[in-house]
Amino acid sequence: MVSEQQPSAIEGAKVLMVGAGGIGCELLKTLALSGFRDIHIIDMDTIEVSNLNRQFLFRQSHVGQSKAKVARDAVLKFRPDISITSYHANVKDPDFNVDFFKQFNVVMNGLDNLDARRHVNRLCLAAVVPLIESGTTGFLGQVTVHIKGKTECYECQNKPAPKTYPVCTITSTPSKFVHCVVWAKDLLFAKLFGPKNQENDLNVRSSDSSSSSEQVEDVFEHKNGEEIEQYARKIFDHVFGYNIELALSNEDTWKSRGRPRPIYCKDVMPTEHVHQNGNQGRGSAAGDMASVSAMTTLGLKNPQDLWSLKENAAVFLEALKLFLSKREKEIGNLSFDKDDQLAVELVTAAANIRATSFGIPLHSLFETKGIAGNIVHAVATTNAVIAGLIVIEAIKVLENDVKNYRMTFCLEHSSNKMLLMPVEPFEANKSCYVCSETPLTLEINTHRSKLRDLVDKIVKAKLGMSSPLIMQESTLLYEVGDDLDEGEVANYAANLEKVLSELPSPVRGGTILTVEDLQQELKCSINIKHREEFDEEKEPDGMVLSGWTQAQAAEKNSKVSADNGASTSGASQAASTVPEDEDDDDDLQIILPPVPGKKRKLSDVTATSGVPSAAKEPKIKRKAEEINGDKDIVMLDDGNIVKKGEA
């Protein structure tokens, strides 16, 4: 495969890039230099300062503008004679339907989130267009090829779910700093500034005493005429003092753990109004979100510094006061945003004060921001390497050079002398509900669960469908869309609130539901099994989906046991999830190193097609051994690099 030998396949190709971020900028440049002449690029994001260290097509002056458009303009400057079409839009928009995808010879992803990746995977499968998928984190990266009927699809293997923590770890027994960050962000911040009527039964308090909820509401309510300073101190004492005292009263909890220390405002900041600076700032230009900062008012400069308890307390009080005085209008509608300086300050201070109570080491604002915002580590060099590898695969795909398709892993430490490790693509998973027609099974209490539970917890959360349609035989139970008439809308809304067995066309054990997403052109069947009881800790959704997905999840549960109890992000337990919101400008990485004996190579598939499956078994290769003797496999777990075999 040499550049000059087959210019025609490249020149005649029409290609789609999804994502104009870290990988996208590099990819667009390399495609243009390599002779691609018709490139379409979709990205919904606008440019931010923290992009500029690696997204080299963007400049300071472009901050706030469309990534797709600026990238296009920048590349046309050195290759003006090619065609680049930019779309400042979400790839999940209905305009980008199967017909849209069909016009391309190959689709290349440089995306930052699982949701969009799954969506593009489905559209590529439906349109029968080859997909090249990629991702990077720090020095690690990978490129994979997905072609319907030839290799596995992007969803044939399970992707690591966002890390979750048992609720009680967050509310009562934190042992790591991340627990304190989750508490500060998902509980405290949400309680202070989020919607008042949150469907969230987790109080900031650590005790579960049933009478407490009203009292908590009282504490958090900022009454008319109440001094801001006084309110801030009251909140401080309540969450860092009173709540800890309450938790301490439950002796059983502390038999095997260190007892936390309640922290009261007066002990840390003895005199009131230590800083009057909050008031001084009041006259200055308000409104600019970025300019409101507790660090600035308190004269704290370096975000990498560790703050003392006193400094954390000062930041907490100051940030809280600034929210109430400068950003009052937003209160009630705020959710945590890693680019909101004041929010990061408040969460950092709160997490550190809580960490102090529990004897957990403190962290800087810089570090806390990374944890709270789930910021993906990113460097330009890895993105450049990965983009080069994507183009090499794209050219092979255009030449239909099937036997040379590779997925490639970019490693931090060489493995068997290899820094870039190519592996033959895996065969499709025969029981993948996305690219095969294998039915799924859902165990559910059909007398108690409502259709809404099924839509939210299974169809949307697990199957990743965004505009689903649910049918039982020929009866439509649920559907979304702009073209529904009023009667249908009302009908479906009513259905959502009904328990399954009481639907117009009842859903019971033995029923087969058809679930379909018209945009993704994905359709699957779900066999319903009625089950009376579910384990609240282990099956918090109150339903269990099985098929290929659950098989692995169950395996995991049994290994991880107790600590992973509340591992699903069902609404009732939602507080325990670490950031589900992935960073919006980086390249989320999901490295899936080869697992021994799990998958077949593409060559085995082609060699044995038509042979009964039993006969194929001996051909299964132990991939990991073959590639690297099982040493030094690099794998990614929530942004943490885990090196196996190096211990």
Binding site: S3, L33, I392
Partner: protein
């Protein structure tokens, strides 16, 4: 840690990479000076990477006037020929590179690389050489070695869809993290001369074919008095002869240097941009490691061939342990 703190502006701009290599490494980077000579595709990629990473300064050396052929894998120079008449490649590239990161000083050093003396190289922390003869590479490597401070030395060569990086960090001490502990490591590099004149018998088993093929072609260019890369498929018979001679004297199997590979390397004069991106990316990473003193550096060759997709590290030419 030595030196002043990063500014607010630096912390904001470099946020994502500081999360990878830390603030100390970023501070060291911002004080480092890099010399780059021979602005071909892979080196252009490298320049982009280190300017984005925030080194202190980059000095470009390439007096060639711009022609279309020189720009096949260059994204720094606008396509308008009026914009580049009369300017050297280094001058044109420097204009664009400055734009990538205003915090990095980018300048041009005119002149023939082989004429610069030890004092000149002494100003730099890392020197990257490409597009020049083997003898020039060797002489610069020696000059870098003579300097009182340690200068990281690299050569890059891309032919067809293959690339080679050579690294000489001399006597190198660095730190790395192992199981939450920071440990200090010490490695000793051979010079370029030592690395390419290693007896083939002593080479690692299954050494990259590219290593051998590139040595044959380098030797061919040297004997014929050709400039680097000034070859074509028509040279194959002569190169095959040379291969036989070398293999005979080194008692090595000729089959380890296949005709097809030699032919590709001889005729592939156009750069293959994806390989430039890969080689420039790996090289950028290595220079960042060497300057920051963090992480295992590559020792001492890296090879990439797009036909098999493998990126391989070879450790060649170490002096025998005493």
């Amino acid at each position: 840690m030595d030196g002043e703190e990063l500014t607010e502006q630096e912390t904001a701009l470099y946020d994502r990479q500081i999360r990878v290599w830390g603030a100390d490494a970023q501070r060291r980077l911002s004080k480092s000076h890099i010399l780059v000579s021979g602005l071909k595709g892979s080196v252009i990629e490298f320049c982009k990477n280190i300017v984005l990473a925030g080194v202190g300064s980059v000095t470009l050396n390439d007096d060639r006037l711009v022609t279309e052929g020189l720009l096949s894998a260059n994204f720094l120079v606008p396509s308008d020929p009026n914009a580049y008449t009369g300017k050297s490649l280094a001058e044109l590239c420097s204009d664009s590179l400055k734009d990538f990161n205003p915090m990095v000083r980018v300048s041009v050093q005119r002149g023939e690389l082989s004429n610069f003396d030890v004092d000149f190289f002494h100003k730099f922390d890392a020197v990257v050489i490409s597009s020049c003869s083997l003898s020039t590479k060797k002489s610069i490597n020696e000059k870098c070695r003579k300097s009182l401070k340690r200068i990281a030395f690299y050569t890059v060569d891309c032919r067809d869809s293959c690339g080679e990086i050579f690294v000489d960090l001399q006597d190198y001490i660095y730190t790395k993290k192992k199981e939450d502990e920071t440990i200090e490591c010490h490695i000793v590099y051979p010079t370029l001369e030592e690395a390419i004149s290693a007896p083939w018998k002593s080479l690692p088993r299954k050494v990259s074919k590219l290593y051998l093929a590139l040595r044959v072609i380098e030797k061919f260019e040297e004997l014929e008095g050709r400039s680097r890369g000034e070859t074509s498929a028509a040279d194959l018979p002569e190169v095959q002869k040379l291969r036989k001679e070398l293999c005979d004297t080194q008692s090595h199997a000729e089959s380890q240097i296949p005709d097809a590979l030699l032919e590709r390397l001889l005729k592939g004069r156009t750069e293959f941009p994806p390989v430039c991106a890969i080689i420039g990316g790996i090289l950028g990473q290595e220079v960042i490691k060497a300057i920051s003193g963090k992480g295992d550096p590559l020792k001492n060759f890296f090879f990439f061939d797009a036909t098999d997709g493998k990126g391989i590290i070879e450790d060649i030419g170490n002096p025998k342990p005493k």
